[in-house]
């Protein structure tokens, strides 16, 4: 019997979890590198192999033009939507992008759902290796504030890898489920979920009934483009400015320099969650090392605006639930960015109570997805989730105004009917434009779909067509029409404004098979090659720096020989040999590393590897 799993498809990391049949407890599945976190990074090897996760992360430095991170930011969006993102993220958008964005990785282009599909396939492989059985069905989590197009794109990603997506579950709801099971919580709960790229706040009521426990979402709000990424961007532009002033070096978001800096800054950011000070050390192309001392206070002053942006949605969610902060009995923190002390303080001050952080904020969403997967699979009727639609659904009326037909925070599934007729004799169609959002004008809302309702010729006003708009349990819109005079049902082909159609998905499903999955040995080769590339790059850079003059001729010759030997081994497929040559080059460059370190800081750190300097 094929297995079912829950997947948290995150902006920064993705995870896969299942529910243990014996204990009934959810558990995250570790990947081949021991961690349960799979970095949401995808790289396309020149030989056509797709690399996902940890090895792809290293290639951000060595092959940035073939590697992509934070693709979730692009899901369900059109080219016009993402101009701001392009200033900050190294997305290579292909000019062929029309309704759907196409991203370039090396010589190929992919849609965001295809790239997400590679991540899903990787996690599916993790789970199948763990169980020794196939996995064919999945529950995937999405930010609660995702709109219809973003949800549809996520579901498409599942279809592209041939997974049946049984349900999309909102991330904060999933987290509440995991916590509820863990803590046996009851009452009104607020879930504050600040992830890598998205922010959600959900207010829930946990109710015990004779049938079982109900998790009723009362309201939700958020920002699908607010998260830890934005903190990193702020830090990055802050350092860019400093470097620009001192050393006149410009960073574009593309290229390895920006990626190296980003990596170093993320480390500093994490250190500052634990300690009061941290030092950024960063080699510049001109051979100097840029050093900056951060204090936690300085970091907080810098990132304050990002954290403050979460407060508006929190207030709105409470107002929509008709509650005050004091009415909330428990607050739960979810998402890696909630490890930031400033975030914790902000939440604690707002609600006047200490938030729950007992469960790993990186894992809790995936655990909740696994619980829901188990409920759906086995018909465990002890728990029921009643979620809501985050955005109002409307239709365009005269003058570009929007008539709201399903208000935000309606429990889903939800529906609304509208009656249409014709204005002139023998009119053959009626244009319908469906939108999502809270604004009053169509141009300020999100266009979901436009379609033409076909009407049989008749005198004006005689046709009576009822159009039913239904938001299903995944938060995805379905439309059906009924001719009230004849009783005929019309199925309506709704072409989403930003999305891929069914035939494209079929094609992608076939193509995805072409992008070979690597077996274990191949993975090892790619891993070793990636590491080799990064040490070769670092060596070349170090040799070009002024400090390299401190090497003896003998040392220099030794390095050159080791470089040549490593390059030769990289051409082959013997990963053990590549590893051996990497070690040799590391030994040959020990003195060079010291020379570089000496010029940077007065204390020499012996035995450091060149790639770490």
């Amino acid at each position: 019997m094929a297995r079912i799993v829950g997947i948290d498809l995150g902006t920064t990391n993705s995870l896969v979890a299942y529910t243990d049949a014996q204990t009934g407890q959810p558990k995250c599945i570790p990947g081949p590198y021991g961690s349960t976190l799979c970095p949401s990074i995808v790289s396309l090897d020149p030989d056509g192999c797709v690399i996902v996760g940890e090895p792809a992360r290293r290639r951000l430095l060595t092959q940035p033009e073939r590697t992509i991170y934070s693709v979730k930011r692009l899901m369900g969006r059109g080219p016009a939507d993402i101009q701001d993102e392009l200033k900050l993220f190294p997305f290579r958008i292909d000019p062929s992008s029309k309704n759907v964005i196409r991203v370039r990785l090396g010589e190929k282009v992919f849609t965001p759902p295809e790239i997400s599909a590679f991540i899903l396939r990787e996690l599916k492989n993790w789970a199948e290796a763990y169980f020794g059985e196939t996995v064919d069905r999945v529950v995937i989590t999405v930010p609660a504030y995702f709109n219809d197009a973003q949800r549809q794109a996520t579901k498409d990603a599942g279809r592209i890898v041939g997974l049946e997506v049984l349900r999309l579950v909102n991330e904060p709801t999933a987290a509440a489920l995991a916590y509820g099971l863990h803590e046996k919580q009851r009452g009104r709960v607020a879930v504050y979920d600040l992830g890598g790229g998205t922010f959600d706040i959900s207010v829930l009521k946990l109710i015990s009934t004779s049938d079982g426990d109900i998790y009723q979402v009362l309201s939700t709000n958020g920002d699908t483009h607010l998260g830890g990424d934005d903190i990193d961007n702020l830090l990055q532009s802050f350092i860019h400015e400093l470097v620009l002033q001192h050393d006149e070096i410009d960073f574009s978001p593309h290229g390895e320099l920006a990626q190296e800096l980003r990596k170093a800054l993320i480390t500093v950011k994490h250190q500052l969650s634990e300690s009061e000070t941290a030092t950024l050390r960063f080699s510049l192309p001109n051979g100097t090392v840029f050093v900056h001392e951060f204090t936690r206070g300085a970091l907080e002053a810098l990132i304050h605006p990002v954290v403050d942006r979460t407060v508006g949605p929190v207030k709105q969610a409470l107002a929509d639930a008709r509650l005050k902060p004091a009415d909330i009995e428990e607050v739960v923190l979810v998402g890696g960015a909630t490890r930031t002390p400033l975030v914790r303080r902000t939440v604690q001050e707002f609600f006047g109570r200490k938030p729950h952080t007992e469960l790993n904020p990186d894992e809790v969403v995936a655990l909740g997805a696994a619980v829901q997967a188990n409920i759906l699979d086995r018909g465990v009727k002890r728990v029921l989730l009643l979620d809501v639609t985050p955005l109002s659904l409307g239709i365009e009326t005269y003058g570009g105004a929007v008539a709201k037909i399903i208000p935000r925070n309606s429990t889903i599934p939800a529906s609304a009917q509208e009656l249409y007729t014709t204005g002139v004799d023998n009119q053959t169609g009626i244009d319908i434009h469906v939108l999502q959002g809270e604004r009053e004008l169509a141009k300020d809302c999100r266009s979901l779909a436009r379609f033409n309702l076909r009407v049989p010729p008749a005198p004006a006003g005689l046709p009576r067509i009822e159009v039913k708009f239904l938001i299903d349990a995944n938060g995805i819109l379905q439309v059906a029409a009924k001719d009230l005079r004849t009783g005929d049902q019309h199925s309506i082909e709704v072409q989403p404004s930003y999305g891929i159609n069914d035939s494209e998905i079929e094609r992608m499903l076939e193509e995805s098979i072409e992008y070979a999955e690597q077996d274990f040995a191949e993975r090892q080769v790619i891993e070793a090659r990636t590491e080799a590339e990064s040490i070769l790059t670092a060596t070349a850079k170090a040799l070009a720096s002024p400090q390299a003059a401190g090497l003896s001729a003998e040392e220099r010759a030794g390095i050159d020989a080791s470089v040549a030997a490593l390059k030769e081994s990289v051409a082959g497929k013997d990963y053990k040999l590549i590893r051996k040559r990497i070690d040799e080059l590391n030994r040959a460059t020990e003195h060079l590393a010291e020379l570089l370190m000496n010029s940077a800081v007065s204390t020499a750190l012996e035995g450091r590897k060149l790639a770490e300097v």
Partner: protein
């Protein structure tokens, strides 16, 4: 429906066992989820009389009970037909709960199914006794817009509008109170004669129109004050 007895659906034929059934949600013969009736009646769905006073905790409990039974989660492994039915029926349940728990939407819905809801013929027309105040309000709004455009002093205009907003909020409160008492009249007249019921419905309808007019005023003022 002229008595206070529970609002019920006409009998259906079960799509599965073809028995005629008077069940509301599940077929008493074969236990399958039933199709929804041609015209869904939210009161019938909750097996309640068409009364405007509803005990909220009872409504919520009934909603949660029915959610357990109708939610698509329960039909993941069922046939496609049943999955579709569950989606339809649970969306109707949620629509019904959303409508009935809101006192204003509830009146509007009731008048709709009784066939007596008539929106104001001239929606933009002010109720006569409010005419003067509305005129003043619109003048203040215009002045504020002009002042905003020309960079004039806003403080005085804003405070005038704020007190106007408060005034119309109070009016809204009055209409809500009137709606409530008219709703009680409706519940009392449920067993009574047709003429009284008709009169009550007309009054409810007028109050709804009046409420929606004032509600729009308040929203417009709030928008300008932001």
């Amino acid at each position: 429906m002229s008595t206070a007895s529970t609002s019920t659906n006409p009998p259906l034929v079960c799509w599965n066992c073809h028995e005629r059934t008077v069940g509301t949600h599940f077929c008493p013969s074969c236990g399958k989820l039933l199709q929804s009736p041609q015209a869904v009646d939210y009161f019938a769905l909750f097996e309640m009389p068409r009364k405007l006073w509803i005990e909220m905790s009872g409504l919520e409990q009934r909603f949660l009970q029915l959610s357990w039974k109708l939610h698509p989660d329960n039909f993941v492994n069922a046939s496609e037909q049943e999955r579709e039915l569950s989606l339809k029926r649970s969306s109707e349940l949620n629509d019904a709960y959303r409508t009935l728990r809101d006192p204003v939407a509830r009146v509007e819905y009731l008048l709709g199914i009784e066939g007596t809801r008539k929106e104001g013929e001239h929606k933009q027309q002010a109720p006569p006794e409010l005419l003067e105040e509305v005129f003043e309000l619109n003048e203040s709004l215009d002045e504020l817009r002009e002042a905003k455009a020309s960079g004039g002093d806003l403080a005085a205009l804003k405070s005038r509008l704020e007190s106007a907003e408060k005034h119309f909020q109070e009016k809204l409160g009055e209409v809500d109170a009137q709606l409530q008492s008219a709703a009680k009249e409706w519940d009392a007249a449920l067993e009574g004669d047709a003429a009284t019921r008709k009169k009550t419905m007309a009054r409810l309808n007028d109050l709804l129109n009046r409420r929606s007019y004032i509600r729009n005023l308040v929203t417009n003022v709030q928008k300008e004050l932001l």
